[in-house]
Structures are given as C-alpha cells and as structure tokens.
C-alpha cells in the first residue's frame, strides 16, 4: 500500500486508494466485498443515494408495502445489499462521477462540491441503459421507456394507469407483470419480437436446458400477462407514436393489418445496452458486438480493459444480467488485488474458478436471450426522414442525411456539422443509432464507422460546483474481515 503522502511540491497526488469502484450494483458490490477483505483500501462511488444499482434499487427500503410483488429476482438482492452495507469500505453515495482518467484520477460531484481522488486500480461497474427506440414520435411527452416506469415504481411507488407497453425483451414482460400484480390496468402489450427470432433461438434450446428455471420464469411472466386478459399483439412491427406536441396514440402493424390505438402513456423497451459514456470517455478500446448489436469495451477473462489498471464489470462491459454481474465483479476484484500484490497468482487462479465456471454457464443462456430478443432493424435504424435521432439537439434523420452529404461521414464529423450528440446526454441516446445509420449510408462495417469521441464531464456538471475543488483522502481503513466470499 502506498504511504508516500505529502509530496514536497504540495500537490496531493498520493492520497490514494488501492481500489476505486464506480457503481454499487451487483457487480460493484460483489467486487467491493472481495476487495474489502483483501486488506486493500477501497472506495466505492454511486450517484444514487443507496446501493443496489438499477436491479436492486431501494431493495432494502422499498416504498411498496409488499416489495415481493416485484419478484424473487428483486428481493433476493436484499442479502447482497445488506452484506455490502456492513462492509467497512469508504462509500460515497449521491456521488456523481464525471471524470475517470487512465492515470487513476477520479473527479465527482458530491454535496455540491467537486471532489478528487486517485486510485491505483479502478473497477467500473456503472451498468446498462435502455436501448433507444428511435421511431416516429418517440420523443413526445407521454412516451417513456419501460425502465423509467420501473424506476418510478421502485423509487416512489408511482404507476401510470392504462398505458400501452411496446417492444421486446424479458424486462418489458417483467415490468408489465409487476404492474399487473399491483392491480394497475395495462391497456395493451405490443410485442415486437419477430417470428424470425424464435427460429433463430430454437437451435439453442438444448444448450439452455440447464437453465430451465430461468426459462420457465420467463414463460411464467408471459402466462401471467396472458391470463390477466391484457390484449397482447404479437409479431408487431412498424411502430409509431402519433400526436402533435404529445402522444395521443400508438400505431403498429400486427395480425395482417395496421392498428391505431389511443394512448396517453406509451412505454417503450427493446432491451438494454452497456452504459458507454464512462468507458468511452476514458478512451478504452471498444468493439461492435454482433450478438448484442452494441458497442462494448474490450475485456479479457479478468474483465481487464485495454488500460490494465482499469477493469469493467457487469452490464457496462456487455449485457450479462445481475447474477453474472456478481461473478464479473468478483473476478475483476480478484485480479485487482493480485495486481496490487496482495495475493499470489496461484491464489488468484484458485479463487477465480467458481465465478469463471458460473460465468461460462451464464453465457450460453445469454446467447439464447440475445437471439430471442434482438430488436428488429426498423426499430433501431430509422428510415423515415422525420424521425428524431438526437433528442437533445432535435436532429432528424433528414438533417443527419444532409450532414452526411456535406462531409459528415464519421460520427465525430457528423456531430461537428449537425450538433447531433452534442447535447446534455452526450450521445447516450443517439450514439448507437448514428453508428448504424452511417454504416448503412456508407455501406461499410460498423466498426469502420466507429462512435463519438466522448469527453468529460460524463454528465452535466454545475459550474459553481466545479469551482469548488477538494481532494478526498483515504481514511486508510482496510476492509474488515468479511466472512463472505464467492
């Protein structure tokens, strides 16, 4: 551990932590528990007020009288969160990290100030975000992502009556089922999973039999929805939101005809993708994953990125789900403490075996899910000129096309010409769409097209907060003996 504090030049560059973990979801919490018992000084930062990440949001302090209605996969997080809360590492909640450097520098907003710390090893576990659903009218008031419906539910116990849920993927069905269990009326479910997905996924059915429980859970959700009497339109396509100034209806094609259904609340969802802003801003190497149709950081078997001192664990390294995220978090932490010299190579390899085995078994199931719920192209890559791609700067397909003709052949050049991706979300909402659009227009592989060059701050940063700059010092508390591992 470092103790070379108080350098003569007066700059506190060495008040460091051995390990900093960003994001206290399943991956971050699991990593923290491994790191804490190793004797390393550990800090964890999360922008929420409580641990749990999106999946276990508020699991120990739910506003719902009976959080069990949210399902066993939610409440089982209570144990992990409780163990994590007992661990004695430094924890910053309500800490919005806006810069991570490959030199180990971390800057974050906390209690209306900018704080700085440095860490020898960093684990990024900032999770996933919902895949954008760039169709006509998706930006209108009244349209939300299904994930934000769940956030309202978990945070404040709020629901919207008579909403239409549109899209595909396990999370969509789960949220609908959660609504139904709470007695909320769901107007309809418009399922955009195409027939071809079943055909693609079918050959993998035998390889997922070891995960029969998970498979049955999914089937159970679909049955629950069907039994409730909620109208379900399957194999839907050509989805568009109608309305001037706000959503009034959703139109789609299903059962051989177009439908137009009045709706004030439309929840869209077509899966999740890694939350890229942090890994991109650091400058880690990324690649395009055909299986999940998204950019991912390049990681080795220890979740180590192209910058060796930085690991990426959980969904922000590629969508794996909460259980696999825990294993990734553990593997990342085991490798970090090995790099710090706290365990031997042999010990590392021994301790990693359990998680490595579990991970490879999760992967087969993930492949099945990915094939089954791959969002269809017309809902990822808009062709209608009027569809808004960049919501912050209100750039439509037509405007991007003319920027492309003007010379904006790469995402960065297109941004310079159209401002697409320059707004407050920093391209989170349009980055994947722009990569795919340009690949189509250039008739080239998406990897050649690339992605925006991301910069700090990773999220909006108040100027007054920036002007107040403080160095955070490690208290030097190493994690106390934790009885939990693997």
């Amino acid at each position: 551990m470092s103790n070379d504090r108080n350098m003569s030049n007066g700059v506190n560059i060495s008040n460091d932590y051995d390990i900093a973990i960003i994001g206290a979801g399943p991956a971050g919490m699991s990593a923290a528990l491994v790191a804490a018992e190793s004797g390393a000084t550990v800090v964890i930062l999360d922008d929420k007020l409580r641990p749990g990440g999106q999946i276990y949001r508020n699991v120990t302090q739910s506003p719902l009288q009976n959080p069990e209605v949210l399902g066993v996969d939610y409440v089982k997080g209570q144990a992990l969160v409780a163990r994590f809360e007992q661990s004695s590492i430094d924890k910053f909640f309500g800490a919005s990290v806006w810069h991570v450097g490959d030199n180990g520098e971390i800057l974050f907003s906390h209690a209306s100030e900018t704080k700085r710390l440095t860490a020898r090893e960093i684990i990024i576990s900032c999770g996933a975000m919902e895949r954008p659903f760039p169709i006509k009218g998706w930006h209108l008031p009244g349209v939300m992502s299904a994930g934000s419906a769940q956030v309202m539910l978990k945070n404040d116990g709020l629901v919207k009556d008579n909403a239409v849920f549109v899209g595909t993927g396990p999370l969509l069905y789960l949220i609908v089922a959660q609504y139904l269990r709470l007695g909320v009326k769901v107007k309809a479910v418009v399922d955009t999973t195409p027939v071809s997905a079943y055909k693609r996924a079918l050959p993998l059915i035998f390889s997922v039999l070891p995960h029969l429980k998970m498979l049955l859970k999914g089937v159970g959700l679909l049955n629950e929805i069907r039994k409730s009497g909620t109208p379900v339109y399957r194999f839907a396509s050509k989805v568009a939101i109608e309305g001037e100034g706000e959503a009034t209806a959703v139109s789609f094609y299903a059962n051989g005809q177009m439908h137009c259904m009045a709706a004030e609340h439309v929840f869209l969802h077509q899966g999740v993708i890694p939350n890229l802003n942090m890994t991109r801003s650091i400058g880690l190497k990324h690649y395009w994953c055909e299986q999940q149709l998204c950019w991912k950081p390049e990681l080795d078997q220890w979740c180590e990125s192209s910058v060796p001192s930085i690991a990426v664990a959980g969904d922000c390294g590629g969508i794996v789900g909460a259980d696999a995220a825990e294993d990734m978090g553990r593997l990342a932490a085991i490798q970090r403490i090995y790099r710090l010299g706290l365990i031997s190579q042999q010990e590392r390899n021994e301790r990693a075996k359990f998680s490595q085995r579990r991970l490879s078994s999760f992967n087969t199931f993930r492949r099945f899910i990915d094939r089954m719920y791959q969002p269809i192209k017309q809902h990822r890559v808009p062709v209608d000129d009027q569809v808004v791609v960049c919501r912050c700067e209100e750039q439509t397909v037509a405007q991007l096309k003319s920027g492309f003709v003007e010379g904006g052949s790469g995402p960065e050049e297109l941004k310079g010409l159209t401002r697409c991706g320059m707004g407050p979300c920093q391209g989170r909402q349009c980055g994947h769409t722009v990569s795919e659009l340009l690949a189509d227009w250039r008739d080239e592989r998406i990897e050649k097209v690339g992605y925006y060059r991301m910069r700090s701050p990773m999220r909006l940063l108040n100027l007054a907060e920036l002007s107040l700059f403080t160095q955070v010092e490690s208290k030097g508390t190493s994690g106390q003996e934790s009885q939990h591992e693997n």
């Binding site: 810069h99 800057l107 900018t114 910069r455 700090s456 940063l461 100027l463 007054a464 002007s467 700059f469």
Partner: protein, 371 residues
C-alpha cells in the same frame, strides 16, 4: 502522384491556402495525417478577434476581418460567422490604465478600431456583468464562427476548384531533389514543385524535414461549453488581466475559454485536461458573470496547438531551400487569421511577394547571429 503544390496539414491555414491556390489555377494536394480539421482548427474557441492584436498582426487581422464578413458567399458555405463585438472587461483601475496605454499606442499608429468604454456603457452592453467591473474596451467587428464548419467550408470550396485532399497520410520523409520536392508517407509517394508546411502542432517536425529549424512547442489549450442558458450576453467577452474568455451562441450554450493549458501528448494525438485549472476558469466566469453560477458544463476538451516563444506565428518563406513556405505556430490565435494567411501564402507562391510586412513572422527570427 505529381502536383504543382503540396500542402502538409489540413487545418484552416492549409485549407485556406489550398482554396486560394486552386482559385489561382494551381494544382494543389493537401496531405493530412488524420482528418481535415481534426485538431486545433476544428476544436478551438472560434473567436474572430481583431481586438488586442499584437501590433505586427494588426494589418493582417484587419484584412482577415473584411474577408470574414463575406466568407460564406465567397466559399458558398456556412462558417457560422457572426459579428457580435468583443469586449475585454477591466476588473479594476489598473486594468483601465493598461487599456489607456494601449489606446495611446494604437492611436499613434492610426488605428481606431479599439474603443474604450466606461462602466455605464459596459453595463449597457453586458447587463449581467458583475458590479465590480469598471469598464473595458470594445471592437465592433469582432465575433465568432464555428471552427469545424469554417475549415470544412474552405476545404469544400477548394475541392470544387480542383484541389485534392488526402486524409490519413502521415508524411515520413521529405527530400528536395533538383527542383522537385519528394514527399513520402509509409504508403505513398508524392512530388511537387512547391511545398507548404501548415502542420500546426507538428510543424517543427515537418520544418526540419524541409531543412528549417524552428523553436516550436505545443500545448493543449482547454475549453468547456455549457448546456443552453437563457440569453444573457450578445458580445464575445474577454478580460484585460485575467484568463477569461467566453461567448454565448445563438442556441444559448456558453463557451468558456481563457487559455488555460492541459497536457499535450502529441505522439498519440491525445490531450489530458487539468481539471484544477478548469476549476479556476469556472470561478473566473462566475466572478465576472454571477448568472453563470447556474450554468451546467456539458463538455470539456482541449486541442493540440502550436506555440512560438514570442506567441507570434511563422508566415514565411523557407530559408534553406527554395519553393518552401511555412504557416504555423499561431499560438492559439490563428483561427481568425486563416482566411488572410491562405491568401498571403497563395500570393507568395504565385508572385513571390506579399503586400504585408511579414518580417515579424520569419521562420529564422530566433536564429542567433554568430559573433
């Protein structure tokens, strides 16, 4: 590949030079090691500034200003240029004395474009300025343009006139054989009669290959931009004695600069920001404009920029070989000069001379005389 002129560097100087040469009927090829406008020319603060220019730059800058006012029509493009005036704010009486001395010097030389204003006029022009600011100086024609678009507008216009732009061509070797310049990258070879070095932060490396030494350094001036704010400032704003400069664009976003430098990693095309310095910049912005307390920073970045020891550019014929020209080292204030530098270099190539006095910009001005 053979051409009359090769320009190394696809920034605004190189693109503007290519435009004026192509307009003069010369075959010209621009070799850019990355993408056109990728570095300082595409990511600078976009200031179109005549105010406060070094005396030896005033004539060039004035000529550039008159080009800017009709550049969109000339290039049939969109540079985003807006004349908004530029005000340098005096924070105290010492600043006012500095301004007065400058005014005397400028008047002596017959320049009348910088006009001092008092506290009342400052407040009329900038209603949100902090109460402690006592006055300032204004230049009416100044304003801003969008750097990436401006550079691209020159490139597009040059291409329409027949200029060739090759991106991803990193020049590795240059030789002068007889009357020909032989320029090689690892993949291709080019040949020309005239060679022009507009390679910004990399210009010293290119100059050495051409046979000219130059004491160039490079750095990474930092900028940040806020998300949209209610409109509160029309003029571009600077400060007499503090590192502050900002401008509010039509869409409400505010660009904050001021010259604070991050760290430049030229070999890897990368910059690293110095956040503690940006924090000082944030503080300065709030000190001068308290309304900025509510601003949200959306992006921070830095570009790779070339600096000369005297902060004046090199605009010069080569010393050690004929048919060699240089324009670089603009020391973070070359964007506004781009249009005129292109014109001057084209004139130098075509006629061998310029109507401007370029003595202060000679590439060999730091060569010591051997006694």
């Amino acid at each position: 590949m053979k051409t009359e002129v090769i320009i190394i560097g696809g920034g605004i100087q190189g693109c503007a030079t290519a435009y004026h040469l192509a307009k003069g009927g010369v075959s010209v090829t621009v070799l850019e090691k990355d993408r056109v406008s990728q570095h300082a020319s595409g990511v600078n603060a976009g200031g179109v500034r005549l105010l406060g220019r070094h005396i030896s730059e005033v004539e060039l800058s004035k000529a550039a200003m008159s080009l800017w006012s009709s550049l969109d029509e000339e290039l049939e493009g969109d540079t985003g240029y807006r004349a908004r005036s530029l005000i340098n704010i005096a924070a105290d009486e010492a600043d006012m004395i500095t301004l007065k001395q400058r005014e005397i010097q400028m008047h002596k030389l017959g320049y009348r474009h910088e006009i001092m204003i008092d506290q009342q006029e400052l407040r009329e022009r900038l209603p949100y300025v902090a109460a402690h600011c006592v006055g300032g100086v204004v230049s009416e024609q100044d304003g801003y343009a969008i750097p990436y678009k401006s550079t691209l507008a020159f490139r597009n216009a040059a291409e329409r006139l027949g200029a060739t732009f090759l991106e991803g061509v990193d020049v590795a070797r240059i030789r002068k054989i007889g009357d020909s310049w032989l320029v090689e990258s690892d993949k291709a070879r080019f040949e020309s009669t005239v060679l022009i070095n507009c390679s910004g932060a990399w210009a010293d490396k290119v100059a050495v290959m051409m046979g000219d030494n130059v004491p160039l350094t490079h750095s990474a001036p930092m900028l940040m931009i806020t998300s949209r704010m209610p409109h509160f400032a029309t003029p571009v704003v600077g400060a007499v004695s503090r590192p502050l400069s900002f401008k509010q664009f039509e869409n409400g976003t505010v660009l904050i600069g001021g010259g604070a430098k991050g760290f430049a990693d030229r070999a890897n095309n990368r910059t690293r920001l110095d956040y503690a310095k940006l924090a000082i910049g944030a503080k300065n912005a709030i000190d001068f404009f308290p309304i900025m307390k509510t601003a949200s920073v959306n992006r921070m970045w830095a570009g790779l920029e070339a600096y000369m020891p005297d902060n004046l550019p090199v605009i010069s014929k080569g010393v050690n070989a004929g048919n060699a020209f240089h324009a670089f080292g603009f020391s973070a204030h070359g964007f506004q000069l781009g249009p005129i530098v292109g014109k001057v270099l084209a004139e130098l190539v075509l006629s061998g001379e310029s109507k401007f006095d370029l003595d202060a910009f000679r590439i060999d001005r730091f060569e010591r005389k051997v006694l």
